[in-house]
């Protein structure tokens, strides 16, 4: 909620997006203490396909960075795809692979093909180093895809898992992917039960 209360986040979201919300889970409340509860943010096209997912709560800077990145990538993908849906999917897929590799793949697995990253967040210095290398020596989509883990990377940060999910199945329908995000990435149960107050 803190990220959504930020002025810059509010201005950017109100300018570029139509915002909505939906209750998919619940939590228990004992007095003022909350047990459980989570949030997942989806950036979607108007036809309900998901462009990007931000699993879990993030701060304002991270939310703004992800939202801007999604808008920029989508605009670039529209220009590059030239009306082809498959080309659009491939562009989005490669963009998620690049984000995963430069920001979330653990150092020991970086540049090693076919291995799964299992570390937590990569340091900011390491991220900058990878980004510089990616800019200096851009690699093909095939090379990037070959280095991506073949199964869901459990030890990676939530945002990294979101990038991996969007790489493994780019532009999915919101109705088909939200269960995976909520139950397998956030480890939360899907329920319509109201908030339990004790």
């Amino acid at each position: 909620m803190n990220a959504l209360a930020n002025d810059q986040v509010g201005d950017f979201v109100n300018q570029h997006f139509v915002a909505s919300y939906k209750k998919v889970g619940t939590f228990q409340k004992a007095g003022t203490a909350k047990q459980g509860g989570n949030v997942a943010t989806y950036i979607c096209l108007p036809d309900e396909t998901v462009l990007h997912v931000i699993p879990g709560p993030v701060n304002a800077d991270a939310f703004l960075r992800e939202a801007r990145w999604a808008v920029d990538v989508y605009e670039s993908a529209v220009m590059e795809s030239n009306g082809s849906r498959q080309a659009l999917r491939n562009y989005i897929r490669t963009a998620h692979a690049l984000r995963y590799e430069t920001e979330h793949m653990r150092p020991g697995q970086f540049d090693r093909p076919g291995r799964s990253g299992r570390s937590a967040d990569v340091s900011a210095k390491e991220v900058r180093s990878r980004q510089v290398r990616a800019m200096m020596a851009p690699q093909s989509a095939v090379e990037l895809n070959d280095r991506m883990p073949r199964s869901q990377p459990n030890g990676v940060s939530l945002l990294g898992q979101g990038h991996w999910l969007m790489w493994s199945d780019p532009l999915p329908k919101l109705g088909t992917v939200y269960k995976t995000v909520w139950t397998q990435i956030l480890r939360e149960p899907l329920t319509d039960i109201p908030v339990v107050v004790r």
Binding site: D11, F17, V18, Y21, K22, K23, G25, T26, T41, C44
Partner: protein, 174 residues
């Protein structure tokens, strides 16, 4: 014993053999079978053909009557004015039909949608008029996810969909 003579016995067998049967009624019971009158059986095929002709011609007329008519739809958006916008007008075009068109279907439908000053056309209003709240944030939230996608289609924008645990409307339950 009396001497009254008995009548002669009836010769039954002989009578049956020699009984002259009266001639059958030769008068025809149906005029068609009358040999003397002209034969009317020849009118049946003519009547059948005439009936079939009437049947098929009526079916053809009905098919032509219910055939789809190409319509021309014209949507006109009014320019912004300082005046309060009039009510949306639905103008039905000429309804005059040719003689071969039995049903009065309009050939042209003209829909006039007036635009409010500085706003979007009135047709896009339902999505925007849905309740928007901020719930303690800086973001205008549409209360329904499906309405948000409809509004995004109308405005050609992306959608931010938040899936939360708890009641988003109540900050204590989010």
């Amino acid at each position: 014993m009396s001497k009254v003579s008995l009548p002669a016995p009836i010769r039954v067998g002989r009578l049956v053999d020699t009984l002259s049967t009266p001639p059958l009624e030769s008068k025809p019971t149906h005029p068609i079978a009358s040999p003397g009158e002209p034969r009317t059986m020849s009118w049946v095929p003519i009547l059948l053909v005439w009936g079939l002709f009437l049947l098929f011609s009526s079916v053809g007329v009905l098919a032509a009557a219910f055939a789809p008519v190409r319509q021309k739809v014209t949507v006109t958006v009014g320019l912004p004015t300082e005046q309060p916008p009039p009510e949306p007008v639905l103008e039905i075009g000429p309804v005059a039909r040719l003689m071969d068109d039995p049903l009065p279907m309009p050939r042209e439908v003209k829909v006039v949608v007036w635009q409010r000053p500085g706003g979007t056309p009135a047709t896009a209003e339902p999505a925007k008029e849905s309740a928007c709240d901020r719930f303690g944030t800086k973001i205008d939230f549409v209360r329904s996810q499906s309405v948000a996608f409809l509004a995004a289609q109308a405005d050609q924008r992306l959608v931010v969909a938040l899936h939360v645990a708890g009641n988003f409307e109540d900050t204590g339950f989010t």
